[in-house]
Amino acid sequence: MSATTETGTERRHPNSSPLRRFVVNNRAAIGTLGVFIVMMGIFIVANPQVFLSWPLYSSVLVTLPVALFLVVPLVFVVTVGEIDLSFPATMGFAAWVFALLVQAGINPFLAILAAIGTGLVLGAFVGAIVVYAGLSSLIATLGMNYMLRGLIMIITEGKSIALLGLRDSTAYQVFSSSIGSVPVQIFWALAFVVFSIFLYNRHRFGARVHAVGDNPDSAAQMGIDVQRIRIATFMYMGLGAALAGCFSVMINFTWWPTTGDGYLLPALASVFVGGTPAWGGIGTIAGGALGALIISFIQSGIISAGLTGFYVQFFNGLIIVLALLGHRWNQARYR
């Protein structure tokens, strides 16, 4: 801990210029941006042909939005001092509701609303179990993930749902078509990121998420309903998972019983690579979004750089560990 005391009058105000204040307040996100730029620089040098042409970026922009809908709410959950490993199953479950309704001929817009409702209910359920029973969220949500996924498997017997008709719907035009060669869903995902940044930093809810994650005793003494805030972060996670699920189905025109499964570890890694520490109380949404960008590029980057697929896992892990070390060095820890 570095204690600052009133020593010299000539000492400058630490937060005097707005630029400096911005840098200090966003040092984690800026550090993540640095990691991203260095990584992309290496990739460009290794294979300029692939990394200076559009198709690679276009393919990342197709899948990145789904990851963003998961990573951003996960930052809220981690900041409040919990973890959620059940979001892949929530995503699959909410997407399933969406797919079933669309298959039954319901307007996709209404189906999305129903999926969001499903996500919120599942999030509230998971959160309530963790909070009211005082369970470890790490274990309880892992259990919930298996249970929900198992439920999907039992009922569908592993069968997927193809929704080729989606292509003709207005919802598809609005949410997952392309403008030129830019997939539309990236704009929705960015809107979600920007909204979440304001919710996290400039809204009462975000302020209370920080307070509860930092010092729940103090927050409770100040009249904050600590349990309600914790459950609300799980609900926000459910909302994000539902949106991720709907987008995933609209991009692929198919719902698989495994929808969401592959996102568990990449989404978690993105949060921490982005600069949100695991101990709660602080975090960064923009950093998390950049973390998702980094994780998305690693795989395609390593293949394009001329290495075989066998290297992907190794470099995935290397980037995660290096990023954590960087953040540890970059950020002072006060607890």
Binding site: M1, S2, A3, T4, T5, E6, T7, T9, R11, H13, P14, N15, R21, N25, F198, R202, H203, R204, F205, A207, R208, H210, A211, D214, N215, D217, S218, A219, Q221, M222, G223, I224, G281, I282, A332, Y334, R335
Partner: protein, 264 residues
């Protein structure tokens, strides 16, 4: 006589057959600093937890501005204008001073979005009011960067924002150096000058003697002495008396029953 802010009458607390408090009378008037002294296990923390509404007394009355309050609890305590600054766990150290001051009572529009500029100005005003200013930190500084005395300042500024009339400070100077203690005293004096009251809990008699107007000494769950600074005259005499309380064989220079005030 100054307005009687809060009064405890014959408050008892027992855990099973063990008495933590055995009939305590205590009052705080407007604009005074009352020092609550006592050894570990004397019942100080039980008493302040009762005041904060965290612990329910098993017997006795609590009066706010002369009115008896029934079903005393945390919310009633806050409504009565009592804010307790618990040692060590009062602040969220990774957050800014602003976020700590407005914790749970954010200044926001009706959609819940924060008026950060208004909060910033209000925080500066509160900090100025208690003399909590510095060239090295602003309302946007992280609390974890502040010294122990400065952290008490944040907690006190928050209490004032929350319209507290009585601020209960639980061992605010116990872990602090001399200069840091002096900072806390400066805040306490500013709070008293503004007409608010402070209940200052400590076991360092010198600290408490320097800052308080009146003293209440607890011993094994009972009030052993009530006296004023004018009556005792010096910290040494207060210490002298407390030693007699601890070793009752010696003759006390203060008769507790004589020093204790009669009820109004």
């Amino acid at each position: 006589m100054a307005e009687r802010l809060i009064e405890l009458r014959d408050v008892k607390k027992s855990y099973g057959s063990v008495f933590a408090l055995g009939g305590v009378d205590l009052h705080v008037d407007r604009g005074e600093v009352v020092g609550l002294l006592g050894d570990n296990g004397a019942g100080k923390s039980t008493l302040i937890k009762i005041l904060a509404g965290v612990v329910k007394p098993t017997h006795g009355d609590i009066l706010v501005r002369g009115q008896k309050v029934h079903n005393w609890n945390g919310a009633r305590s806050r409504d009565a204008g009592i804010e307790t600054v618990f040692q060590d766990r009062a602040l969220a150290v990774q957050q800014t001073i602003v976020r700590n001051i407005f914790m749970g009572r954010e200044i926001a529009d009706r959609f819940g979005f924060l008026h950060t500029r208004k909060e910033h100005e209000e925080a500066e005003r509160l900090m100025r009011e208690i003399g909590f200013t510095s060239k090295v930190f602003t309302p946007d500084s992280i609390v974890g960067q502040l010294s122990g005395g400065e952290r008490q300042g944040v907690a006190i500024a928050r209490a004032i924002y929350n319209k507290a009339d009585l601020i209960v400070l639980d061992e605010p100077t116990t872990a602090l150096s001399l200069t840091e203690t002096e900072k806390v005293f400066r805040f306490v004096r500013a709070v008293r000058a503004s007409g608010r009251s402070i209940l200052f809990i400590g076991h360092n008699i010198h600290h408490v003697y320097d800052i308080a107007d009146r003293f209440v000494v607890l011993d094994r769950g009972r009030v052993a002495l009530k006296t004023t600074k004018a009556e005792v005259g010096s910290a040494e005499k207060l210490i002298d008396f407390m030693e007699h309380v601890a070793h009752p064989k010696g003759v006390t220079s203060f008769d507790p029953t004589a020093a204790a005030e009669t009820r109004p």
